[in-house]
Amino acid sequence: MAADLSIAVPSKGRLKDEASELFERAGIGLRKSGHERFYRGALDGLDGVEVVYFSAAEIVHQLKAGRVHLGVTGEDLIRETLGDVDGSVEFLRPLGFGRADVVVAVPDCWIDVDSMADLEDVAAQFARAHGRRLRVATKYMNLTRRFFAGHGVTGYRIVESAGATEATPAAGTAELIVDITTTGTTLRANHLKVLEDGLILKSQAHLFASRATSWDISAIKLRDAILTRLKP
C-alpha cells in the first residue's frame, strides 16, 4: 500500500450511490483516479487515502484479511460472514442508509404460527407428516443457524438461495424463508408474514475498521479526519 490509509467502498448498486453521496456531502468526494478499470481512487481534499472499490460482500473479506483499513458495507454481511465479528472489525459509525431487516417469514396461510416456538412445534408435526425437516431458504446461513439455535428451533434444514428467496415457499422448494425486507411489501405480495419474534437483525451500512491491519500514526490521523468530516 503506497497510501497511508485505504478505504473500501461498494462498487455497484444502491450502496455505491449512497456512499458516494455521503462522502460528497462530507466534502471528501470519491474521485476515481488514473486507470478507472483498476477500480481505485482517492478522496477529494484528503491526501494519503486510497479508495478501492469492491462488492459489498467482498469488502467484508478485505476487512477480515486486513487488506484495507476501512470499509463501507452492511452489518448483515459482516455478521453473516465473520466468525469472530468483534475480533475482526470495529464498528466506527452507522451511516443511516442501506437499511434492511433480516427476518424469519412463513406463509401467511399458517394461521397457527405466530412465533419461533410455534415453528419448532410445526417442525415436529411436519417431520411426522412428511418424513423430512422443514426447509428454510436463505442466503444468511450463519445468521439463521445462530438465531434458530437461540430460540431452541432445531427441526429444520437450510436450502441455500441466491436470489428470489421470497418466491420459494410458493414454488414449493422451501417451507419458510430468512431474508431481508425494508417495507414488507415484497413479503406480503408473496403471501408471507414475519413471525412476532422473527426479527434477526436491524441492519444498515456502517463504516468499519479492520483489526487485522497495522494502524500507524498517519493511518489513525486519516481515520479520525474521515470520522470528523462524516459527523452528521
Binding site: W110, I111, V113, A129, H130, T154, G155, A170, A174
Partner: protein
C-alpha cells in the same frame, strides 16, 4: 493447516489393523463406504447442528454433497444398497476418516479430519443380545489397544418413551414432550408451562376460530379453516396441508380448555430425568420412582436391567460406570440404549468411543421396514492419545 492428515500415522495404522482384526474375528465384515456422501440424507436426518460442522459442497453437476461427518449413516446406506429389502442381518466393521469443522480451532483431541473405527449390526431381531454384543466388542477393542482405565456411561431413550407412555397425558402433550426430549432447555420450560396451566393467548381472530373448532370432528374443522383461509385471501402454500394447519388449531383449542398437567406427573418426569448413578443403583431408583407414581415401566426397565446383568456376567465392572437418564439426548436418531467409553478425569473426560441403538434410521433413508440397528465407533486418535498417556 497441518500438512499431514494424521500425526502418528504408523501408530494409528497399526492400531487400526488390530481393531479391525478383532471386529472381523467377531464376525463383522469389513466395508469401506464412500467418503463423499449425498448431503441430503445427513441434513434431513441429523439437521442443521451437524450441517454447521459438515463440509457441504456443490459439485459441477449441481449435486449437493458432503464429506461424511460420521460413518453410521454411510454404513447404513451401504447395507441398504446391498440388501434393498432389508430382510437379513448383517454385521459390518470399518476404519476410515470422517470430517467435521471445529469452530474453536483445531486441537489434537478434536481435529477436523479424524478417523473412526467401528462396527454396525443391522437386522438382528434379538435386540438385547445385539446390545450386549456391541458394548462388549467395543470394550474388548479399546482394551486390546492398551486402554486400561476407562468408564462406561449409559443412557436409554426407549425407557424415557416408556415413561411417557405409562403416564396419563393427552396425546398432543405426549408428542410434544417426546419431541422436546432432544432439546433439554426447552423441554424443562415446556414442562413447567404445562404444569402451571398457562393457556395460549386467547385473543385475535385465529384464536376465536380455534375456539369454534373445539370438539368438532376433523373434517368439519377443516371445512371451517378452509373457509377462513379463503375468506381472508390466504392461499395454501409452503407444503403444509389444510389438515396439518387444522390439527394444530385443534390442539390450541384443546389447550384453551385443558386442565394443567398434574403437578405429580411433572414431578415424576423431573425426578426421572435427574437420575444418574452407577447403573444398577440408577435402575433401582427409576423403579422406585415408577412405583411411587403407580406406573409400570414394564418391559423397558426390565430390558435395561437385564442388559446390565449380562454385561456384568461377561466380566464388565459396572460399579465405576454411570447410567444417566439425560444421557444421549444430542443425536436424534438414537432410539434405545446409548453408551460411551470415557477416559481421563471426571472433569476433562475424553470420549474414546460411543454408540447406540438407532432402529428408526434405516426407514428414514429408504428401508421398506423398520430395521433393528446398533453400532459403535471408536475415535482412534483419542484412543491412541489416551493409551500413550497411560490411561
Amino acid at each position: 493447516m497441518a500438512a499431514e492428515s494424521a500425526l502418528k500415522f504408523e501408530a494409528l495404522e497399526a492400531q487400526a489393523t488390530a481393531l479391525l482384526e478383532i471386529f472381523r474375528r467377531a464376525g463383522y465384515e469389513q466395508v469401506a463406504p464412500s467418503i463423499i456422501q449425498p448431503a441430503d440424507i445427513f441434513l434431513d436426518q441429523i439437521g442443521e447442528s451437524i450441517r454447521s460442522r459438515t463440509y457441504v459442497f456443490t459439485d459441477l453437476a449441481g449435486d449437493e454433497l458432503c464429506l461424511r461427518p460420521d460413518l453410521t449413516v454411510p454404513v447404513s446406506r451401504l447395507y441398504l444398497e446391498r440388501h434393498p429389502s432389508a430382510d437379513r442381518p448383517a454385521r459390518y466393521c470399518y476404519n476410515g476418516p470422517a470430517f467435521r469443522f471445529q469452530p474453536d480451532r483445531r486441537n489434537q483431541a478434536h481435529p477436523r479430519e479424524f478417523r473412526q473405527a467401528g462396527i454396525e449390526c443391522f437386522g438382528e431381531m434379538d435386540r438385547e443380545g445385539a446390545d450386549v454384543e456391541i458394548v462388549l466388542l467395543a470394550v474388548e477393542a479399546v482394551r486390546s489397544a492398551g486402554l486400561k482405565k476407562f468408564r462406561l456411561r449409559f443412557g436409554d431413550i426407549a425407557l424415557f418413551y416408556a415413561l411417557l407412555d405409562a403416564l396419563s397425558l393427552p396425546e398432543r402433550w405426549r408428542l410434544k414432550l417426546s419431541h422436546y426430549f432432544w432439546r433439554p432447555p426447552v423441554f424443562h420450560a415446556l414442562l413447567a408451562r404445562l404444569a402451571s396451566g398457562e393457556r395460549p393467548n386467547g385473543d385475535g381472530p385465529v384464536m376465536a376460530l380455534a375456539d369454534r373448532l373445539a370438539g368438532l370432528p376433523s373434517e368439519r374443522a377443516e371445512e371451517l379453516v378452509g373457509a377462513y383461509l379463503e375468506g381472508n385471501d390466504l392461499p395454501l402454500s409452503g407444503n403444509r396441508s389444510l389438515s396439518e394447519i387444522t390439527a394444530r388449531l385443534l390442539d390450541h383449542a384443546a389447550d384453551l380448555r385443558a386442565d394443567p398437567l398434574p403437578r405429580e406427573v411433572a414431578t415424576v418426569i423431573d425426578y426421572y430425568l435427574a437420575v444418574s448413578g452407577p447403573p444398577q443403583e440408577a435402575a433401582n431408583r427409576v423403579a422406585m420412582i415408577a412405583k411411587g407414581a403407580g406406573i409400570d415401566l414394564g418391559p423397558a426397565l426390565y430390558a435395561l436391567v437385564r442388559r446390565f446383568e449380562r454385561l456384568e456376567a461377561s466380566g464388565i465392572d459396572l460399579s465405576a460406570g454411570t447410567f444417566a437418564t439425560e444421557f444421549g439426548r444430542d443425536l436424534e436418531y438414537y432410539s434405545g440404549l446409548v453408551f460411551q467409553i470415557e477416559a481421563g478425569g471426571e472433569r476433562d473426560a475424553d470420549q474414546i468411543a460411543g454408540g447406540g441403538r438407532y432402529d428408526g434410521l434405516l426407514c428414514h433413508i429408504g428401508a421398506p421396514r423398520e430395521v433393528p440397528a446398533i453400532g459403535s465407533a471408536i475415535h482412534t486418535e483419542r484412543l491412541l492419545a489416551a493409551v500413550e498417556r497411560g490411561s
